[in-house]
Symmetry: C2
């Protein structure tokens, strides 16, 4: 790939442009707001001048609702040999393109699974996609040359290509991304009107469950509006579990022992299915979460404590795979959970104890 | 407080005993399984011999379903001047005690908001309660001397006392602990039968939302069985939001523009209420999560990288309040988010850049 044009210089477009420009591709930048394109150019993502002739690849990085029109216009202008979009849903835009009579053989729908809390070109970064899955949705009509251009883009962005059917993709993101977002918001919403004393009792569990409830509603309305069917289907399944669990809990209040036993069975069932599902969520490097063990250390809050603990771990050659700090409320001390490979646990434990750290048994 | 008896030497009982013993209180240990009491004694939590006469405080640390019978028996044996339990629900046990005709003036229901993934005396630790809320539920009949004994226990365990009504406590934990657990399990349960390719697309959001879905079902059945009413009430409210959101999503698929607009409004409403609720969840030191800012750095996976970054931060006197490592899937690199006070951001950014770190804009 020698030259590419990025249409839409928000977070994703600018990040892809920065990655391509950094690897020697000539990048042209275009945005319906020329200031945004100029900002991206100033960051080193390419030039905001128009290309003299067709480039290799046109990357449409506009919100889902504008993909079809933008792509049709780009093909009308004969901007490139191949075209792709990077919107977070794939089925709807594809059907709109069909309706507009676009050339689908030179188009491929893609979705890089990367994002941030921030948006706009200023938040763009060349390594945004490193190691992340980048979904490609070729069909039988997709030209092989266009598929290869898309694979080259993914490779230049250091992402991991995953080939899927467009509708399967939309069902998958409904399951692993859109549903968790809405459910997190709904749990957090219950706190909006809660007593201050109740809120004081929040612990690490609800902190984790509600973290993404802080996300930007406008961005999520765009995403959900483009994928309403699959999200509604998954949410309806959650709703069925929820209704059954409410019934199970009510049964626990019954005077009838059989009913109570039925309630326990119902609750146990949902908790066990939760265990099974959670065990499938890939952790670091795609490994199952159970592939690692944790070592828990009490720490104070003075500057330098974390540095000391990591230095002490590094001194015995132990690599910390992940770290969680659990904070006590109302005071300074906290706990730090170090995730390491099981073989590293004994050495790390001894080394930290020798250096005066207080470990949880 | 000179002497105390702990009945039930699991995680909570043993941890309280270790804290008391460490601060010079004579602790007697009892368990329906004498091996457990002996294990706790061997860990330095006290003696598993019986006290010669009444002690100051009896701490009933048995599962919720056994609190009333154990307490009635302890009062019959005249073991102490004051009695308390540490079960995670408070209304039910209190009503059972009333039914058994116990002396309620010398009893106070309490709940330390601390726990771990592990259970049993071996998991016990003297600092388990440090900085955590410890709920006390005195009533008008509670003897002041008994309230003061409970406050002394909380203080010796370095916890933070919070006074609440027993039923308000049960509603609060239904809201901030029991409901998030069940909802996390339900989101995770949807992954149990998902395609492998879909599971590969999991990102940080679903990782956080489903973390507690890995919890032990047996422990949660005990907790939920003791608090079914309040949990069912909160879950029913979540179910109402969920049903409405499914309707909103279906409206987005409508050909009628008014319907679609109504759908957007419904989804925006639940997302915004989620923002409001999330903003109330206390972060470190009880501060709102917005009181801090994050600095994001790209790191490799070699041992010592985290140590270096913390050392570099410590060198300019910046205290890292929290840290999150976000891992790329399928490769070694990752991102680290450092949470610091806003005033520390400029100095930290400059210092890290000077030392060669690659920062996200």
């Amino acid at each position: 790939m020698r030259a590419a044009i990025v249409i839409g210089t928000g977070l994703i477009g600018t990040s892809a442009a920065l990655a391509l420009a950094g690897r020697g591709v000539q990048v042209y930048l275009e945005d319906h707001d020329p200031t945004q394109a100029r900002t991206a150019a100033a960051l080193g993502a390419g030039t905001d001048e128009a290309p003299a002739g067709p480039v290799d690849l046109a990357i449409i990085a506009v919100p889902p609702a504008h993909v079809a029109a933008t792509l049709a216009e780009a093909q009308r202008r004969e901007l490139a040999r191949g075209y792709l979009d990077v919107a977070s849903v794939k089925g709807g835009p594809r059907r709109e393109l069909e309706a507009l009579g676009c050339d689908l053989s030179h188009y491929i729908g893609t979705h890089p699974m990367a994002g941030r809390e921030r948006s706009g070109p200023m938040a763009g970064t060349a390594d945004l996609f490193e190691g992340r899955p980048w979904v490609l949705t070729p069909t039988r009509e997709t030209d092989t040359e266009v598929l290869n251009l898309a694979l080259e883009l993914v490779s230049l962005c250091r992402a991991v290509p995953v080939v899927m059917d467009a509708d399967a993709h939309d069902r998958a993101v409904a399951l692993v991304s859109h549903t968790p977002q809405l459910v997190s918001s709904m749990v957090a919403a219950r706190l909006a009107g809660a007593d201050e004393t109740a809120v004081r009792l929040c612990g690490q569990g609800i902190l984790d469950v509600t973290r993404i409830a802080a996300s930007d509603p406008r961005m999520w309305i765009d995403i959900l509006s483009a994928n309403p069917g699959p999200v509604a289907d998954v949410l309806a399944e959650v709703a069925a579990d929820l209704d059954e669990t409410v019934q199970s809990l009510r049964s626990l209040q019954s005077a009838d022992e059989d009913k109570r036993r039925g309630g326990v069975t119902g609750i146990e069932d949902v908790l066990r299915r939760g265990n099974t599902g959670r065990a499938r969520v890939p952790g670091k490097h795609g490994a199952a979460p159970t592939a690692y063990e944790t070592v828990t250390v009490s720490i104070g809050d003075e500057p330098g404590q974390l540095a000391r603990i990591f230095a002490d771990a590094g001194r015995v050659g132990v690599n910390i795979e992940d770290v969680r700090i659990e904070h006590a409320t109302g005071q300074q001390a906290g706990l730090i959970q170090l995730t390491v490979e099981p073989k590293s646990v004994p050495g790390l434990t001894v080394a930290l104890r020798e250096r005066g750290w207080s470990l949880r048994p």
